[in-house]
Amino acid sequence: MIQLDTISWRFVKVWQRNFVTFQKIWKINFITPLLEPLLFVAAFGLGFVGLVGEVRYGGAGIGYTAFIAPALIASAVMNNAFFETTYASFVRMYYQKTFDGMLATPLSIEEIILAEIVWSASKAAAAAAIMLAVLSLFGYVDLPAGLLAVPLAFLGGVAFGAIGLFFTGIIPTIEMFNLPIFLFVTPMFLFSGTFFPVSNLPMWAKPAAFAFPLYHLVELTRLVCLGRCETVPALSLAYLVLFALLFTGLALVGMRRRLIK
């Protein structure tokens, strides 16, 4: 099913193909990660400051904007990676038939899948780096520890990119992406300790958050940006790594079944 010996550094060539294509549209793609943190800081920083006050997190109080800033980075990682391997990869696969063309060359399907996932993680990490730069200007990020948010974003990008590509391998039409977005991405975005600490949730709801990969990414990002978090960092890291590996494998199986008949 999964043939590891068919993976070589050729996958970089597929990554490069995506990069060359991206170079035509990069300017537009940079606007969102540049402006989004500014907008959120403005809305929550100015708007909520009077309403919410301090948030109790990790045993100490913290301003609301400082609380959500790292979560915004983590959410951007999820969105960037997931939307790249769902919509963009699906268009490449189904409408442009790019992968069919590639499979007539010495590339293996494993290399194509790996390249798509790594590409989405690269985009996510780049978006995270830009947001980090903007947010640290406002003082919401501890440097130099905060710089670890970028490799962390890459890992998170691999995890969410892999999940996205898994769905690309199994859904029949592009509209069906609405299902995982509605059932997984949006609930994760809201309930992963992004806008309020998970410790605020009632006892019966807390365990659900532990299953969300975004929750672990948010906590780890908070750890490097603020210096504290509410999970055991080693466990969160392990969870993300395992998630990435599992879904990369599943994506491989699904895409192989879809493309090679």
Partner: protein, 313 residues
């Protein structure tokens, strides 16, 4: 003509297919096909829709795994040594798989990367191919702005980026205007003259007749006949053909009495006559009331006689 550095041999057929089967759930798309293609030959794979030609082609370039049977290309098995085989092979698929976000030249250069061709060589090779296919003045154009003929030429150019020894063409001129089609044929003939081995599938009998040294006609996953276009025409259609418009019963009676091979299509009747046939002269004199067309036998006659005139889904 001896062993190459990678251990394969220059002797022996370029393609050797033995007892190839492809089964899907209930459908047997390829039902025991065997053929061999020697170096330098232009080989045709013809058949009606659903005959199994595209499935066979896909197995040849390692896209679809065979259910049973062996495919050897350059002396190597496709299931094991696919990477080495694909490095020396070019494939021009029927679908448009070009990158719409890249320019004409970029499409070639990026594709070269998948063969691990270095950037400088890729650029030189791309320029060479653009020149050969008369696309040089469009090299910075977006793929979306190209006409159908240019898209096909670019796809063909792309399939040659790695200087392959074997080229597989899946319906290369389908949907093209006559000018573009003839240009493609012209280029293919030049490539053939330079020693390229080609496998072609097509619906255009004129194309197969003109380009192929040898061809097979497949139907229902099996090979019906094999031979050069001239042999097949002689064997299955006859050198001359008379098409009679508006045939009457008298003609039909005459035909059944004389036993001439013919196809009765109601308002048209096709007679397959070897040269100098006395019956042909009789038909010409006595039965050509409305319209009679006298022409040479073509591959299309062979094809329709063998695979029938019914529509295939």
């Amino acid at each position: 003509m001896s062993a190459r550095p990678d251990g394969t041999s220059d002797r022996g057929p370029i393609i050797d297919v033995q007892h190839l089967f492809k089964r899907y759930q209930e459908l047997t798309a390829v039902d025991g096909i065997s053929f061999a293609v020697p170096r330098g030959e232009f080989f045709g794979l013809l058949g009606p829709n659903g005959a199994g030609k595209t499935t066979t082609i896909r197995m040849l370039y390692g896209f679809t795994p065979p259910t049973r049977g062996v495919i050897r290309i350059f002396g190597m098995e496709i299931t094991r040594d696919w990477r080495r085989i694909k490095t020396r092979m070019g494939v021009c698929q029927q679908d448009n798989t070009l990158d719409p976000d890249l320019t004409v030249e970029q499409n070639l250069v990026v594709f070269a990367g998948y063969f691990r061709i270095r950037a400088r060589e890729a650029r030189d090779r791309a320029r060479e191919l653009l020149e050969f296919f008369a696309l040089s003045n469009r090299r910075s154009a977006k793929v979306m702005d190209l006409s159908g003929g240019m898209i096909r030429r670019l796809t063909l150019a792309r399939s040659l980026i790695n200087r392959p020894e074997l080229l597989i063409l899946d319906e290369p001129t389908t949907g093209l205007d006559p000018q573009s089609r003839h240009q493609v044929w012209d280029r293919l003939e030049k490539l053939k003259a330079s020693g390229l081995t080609v496998v072609l599938t097509t619906h255009y009998m004129e194309e197969a007749s003109r380009m192929c040294d040898r061809l097979v006609i497949v139907d229902h996953g099996r090979i019906l006949v094999e031979g050069s276009p001239a042999e097949l025409i002689l064997r299955h259609a006859g050198r001359s053909v008379i098409e009679v418009g508006g045939p009457d019963q008298a003609l039909r009676d005459y035909l059944s009495a004389s036993g001439m091979p013919h196809d009765d299509l109601g308002r048209r009747l096709i007679l397959y006559t070897p040269d100098g046939d006395e019956h042909a002269a009789a038909v010409r004199e006595r039965f050509c009331n409305e319209t009679c067309t006298f022409r040479t036998g073509t591959l299309e006659d062979v094809f329709l006689r063998l695979t029938g005139r019914e529509l295939r889904d």
